[in-house]
């Protein structure tokens, strides 16, 4: 199952353009990046995703050569670049503030990287104009940056970095300064652009939607460490730890202990539930292991409990509860269902709003049954 989702993407060790080996960076007592190892494939759209302060930007700056690693190495296209200064790396960066030179025209901005490395003026102009075409800014060459909108300035920054034909393009939160509509349009454009130029893109973002929609693979970072590297769908459906499960999307975590393993099926006795949970997954744990069962809110089926006792004790993957809170989100409603009289006894259930007529298929204090399939949950041991 895990393999199914992963196989449409390149497997690691295919052709790594960047190899990061146990890379660390500390600023005084603060460990910004802590022993990160990663392989990024040529032509890949790779995302570094994590909350602010997780070290993703520091990692990107080390790739660019703007920070010196405290330990570990960076190999770009077979060459050790750990101690090579930024101006001599085959890598270019689109900065968060775009950092367009305010005193240069658009064309001079784009051509700067070529001019400063001693390329003939005529070639500089031709290549800069071609790069402007690429980002759909043809005819803007004579303008000054203060005559451009934020989105246009970002295109200048993109063209300026791409004109040097780097082996890797680094993008530091490139969409964070744009408004919501433009951001969505730029996502598609960046993906198309990456396909057109065929350059490896590494993007840093704190926005999971951005990473999920654009990247071929995502590395989720937390406190300086990479917690999981996987394609978007695998990351969402098969997180390998609680941090990833919780950071990507929304999740219900049920604490329990593995009580039995039978073939592909694991039985977990959850602390909150009377009946044990049955989970089918590739990765198995020995009985007695302390685990968490992660279930996505949209993978839980909710039905109204009619009068009378209906649940038998040995009904697996079912639980009775009471609707406590309803959050209407337009396309979905999130129901908070109390399944146990404890602070952690609330389960989130996402129900699509199919029908306009029944605006509220469930109301507060409704008694409901929650059900899910054995392959809907993921068992995590960390």
């Amino acid at each position: 199952m895990t393999g199914d989702l992963g196989s449409e993407n390149r497997t690691p060790a295919d052709k790594a353009i960047i190899r990061i080996n146990s890379l660390s960076k500390n600023f005084g007592a603060i460990q910004a990046v802590d022993g990160v190892s990663l392989e990024i494939q040529a032509g890949e759209f790779f995302a570094l995703l994590g909350p602010s302060g997780c070290g993703k930007t520091t990692l990107l700056r080390m790739l660019a050569g703007l920070e010196t690693p405290s330990a570990g190495s960076i190999v770009i296209d077979g060459e050790d670049m750990s101690r090579v200064p930024a101006n001599r790396r085959p890598v270019n960066t689109v900065f968060q503030s775009y950092a367009v030179f305010p005193h240069l025209s658009v064309l001079d901005n784009v051509g700067y990287g070529l001019k400063v490395t001693g390329i003939r003026a005529a070639e500089v102009r031709d290549r800069a104009e071609a790069a402007l075409d690429l980002v759909k800014l043809e005819g803007y060459g004579a303008r000054m940056p203060d005559q451009l909108s934020g989105g246009q300035r970002q295109r200048v920054a993109l063209a300026r970095a791409l004109v040097k034909r780097p082996k890797v393009l680094l993008l530091d939160e490139p969409l964070s300064a744009l408004d919501a509509k433009l951001r969505e349009a730029m996502r598609h454009e960046l993906v198309n652009l990456q396909e057109t130029v065929g350059i490896t893109f590494i993007i840093v973002t704190h926005d999971q939607e951005e990473a999920l929609s654009m990247a071929d693979r995502i590395a989720v970072m937390d406190r300086g460490c990479v917690r999981q590297v996987a394609p978007p769908a695998q990351l969402y459906e098969f997180p390998t730890n609680r941090f990833v499960a919780d950071f990507i999307g929304s999740v219900n975590l049920l604490e329990g202990i593995v009580s039995a393993v039978d073939g592909a099926e694991m039985t977990v006795q959850a602390a909150l539930l009377a009946a044990p949970l049955r989970i089918v997954q590739d990765k198995r744990f020995v009985p007695g292991t302390k685990v968490w069962v992660a279930i996505r809110p949209e993978k839980i089926n909710m039905t109204k409990l009619e009068t009378g006792p209906t649940l038998r004790l040995d009904d697996n993957n079912q639980v009775e509860g009471i609707v406590e809170e309803i959050t209407y989100l337009g396309d979905f409603s999130i129901y908070h269902v109390r399944i146990a009289d404890r602070p952690e006894g609330l389960v989130k259930v996402a129900v699509p709003n199919f029908d306009r007529a029944t605006l509220r298929p469930f109301i507060w204090e409704d008694r409901v049954i929650l059900r899910w399939n054995p392959n809907s949950g993921v068992v995590l041991d960390s």
């Binding site: 930024a86 030179f101 990287g113 400063v116």
Partner: protein, 283 residues
């Protein structure tokens, strides 16, 4: 001005106080107090009278006379030479100081920052005496040919005007986006190219404004110059002072008017550039 008729009933805003009579009187008094002496000076430079106390009619002959006064012209040339040289050196020293304070962290930095700006607050007379003693102590050669005989004055001027350049440029650098320098580096620029293409273009308005400030400070400095100038190196303000000691003729007025015009023009230019850069910084 648009007058709101119901304004009497509501509390006046901060800018509406200027509509009150007493406020206007204070404003007027301030202007009179500040500018009457200068206006008188300028007006009497056109006075057709030797003793320059009673108005006797309009003339420009004292300007001609001032122009024909070799001593005065020589002093004026000296002043301009000193101003250009000391401004040039002040800009370089000031920019370097500002850059160092902005870019680097080092032990005792606050102390250094304070020491650099000390010449701005030290009384000029102390600076003058200090310079006099200093040059005497190190045995600075006298009687050098022009323009080397202006060296002492130029050095003294640099010492009090470069802190002004440093302060102005330092303020300008505070608004610099370090990602601009990183972008230049990322695109292939070495340390010097980053400086030339990213940092100095940003500093430029500060350099210009600081330079103009240094120029006017040097041009009209009297106290410090008086202590460092010799008989062969008289500057314009010192020359005017010596002329006044004999008699206040309209010639002195004419010469002073020229100095006022130059100083005001250069200062206005400096302020205008600073305003422009701060409105740029606001976006």
């Amino acid at each position: 001005m648009k007058v709101r008729h119901n304004a009497r009933r509501i509390q006046p805003g901060p800018l509406e106080y200027t509509r009150r009579a007493w406020m206007r009187m204070i404003l007027l008094a301030t202007f009179v107090f500040l500018y009457t002496p200068i206006a008188t000076l300028v007006a009497f430079s056109f006075n057709d009278s030797r003793r320059n106390i009673v108005w006797r009619g309009f003339t420009t002959k004292y300007y001609e006379k001032a122009l024909a006064n070799d001593g005065l012209i020589e002093a004026f040339v000296n002043s301009l030479s000193i101003a250009f040289v000391s401004t040039f050196i002040s800009i370089i020293l000031g920019a370097m100081t500002a850059f160092m304070l902005w870019r680097f962290r080092f032990p005792l930095k606050p102390l250094y920052e304070g020491a650099v700006t000390l010449p701005i607050v030290i009384p000029e007379i102390c600076m003058g005496v200090a310079m006099l003693v200093f040059f005497a102590r190190i045995g600075w050669p006298t009687g050098l040919p022009w323009p080397l005989n202006l060296g002492q004055i130029a050095i003294a001027h640099v010492s009090f005007s470069f802190p002004f350049v440093a302060v102005v440029v330092r303020a300008r650098l505070a608004s610099f986006n370090p990602e601009i320098a990183e972008a230049a580096r990322d695109l292939g620029a070495g340390e010097w190219a980053v400086m030339r293409d990213a940092v100095i273009p940003h500093m430029r308005p500060g350099l210009l404004a600081g330079g103009l400030l240094a120029f006017t400070l040097s041009l009209d400095d009297f106290v410090i110059t008086f202590f460092t100038s010799g008989p062969e190196s008289v500057t314009f303000p010192v020359k005017v002072y010596s002329m006044v000691r004999f008699s206040v003729t309209p010639e002195v007025n004419a010469a002073s008017t020229v100095l006022v015009v130059i100083t005001v023009t250069v200062t206005a230019l400096a302020l205008w550039i600073q305003n422009k850069q701060s409105s740029e910084a606001r976006g």
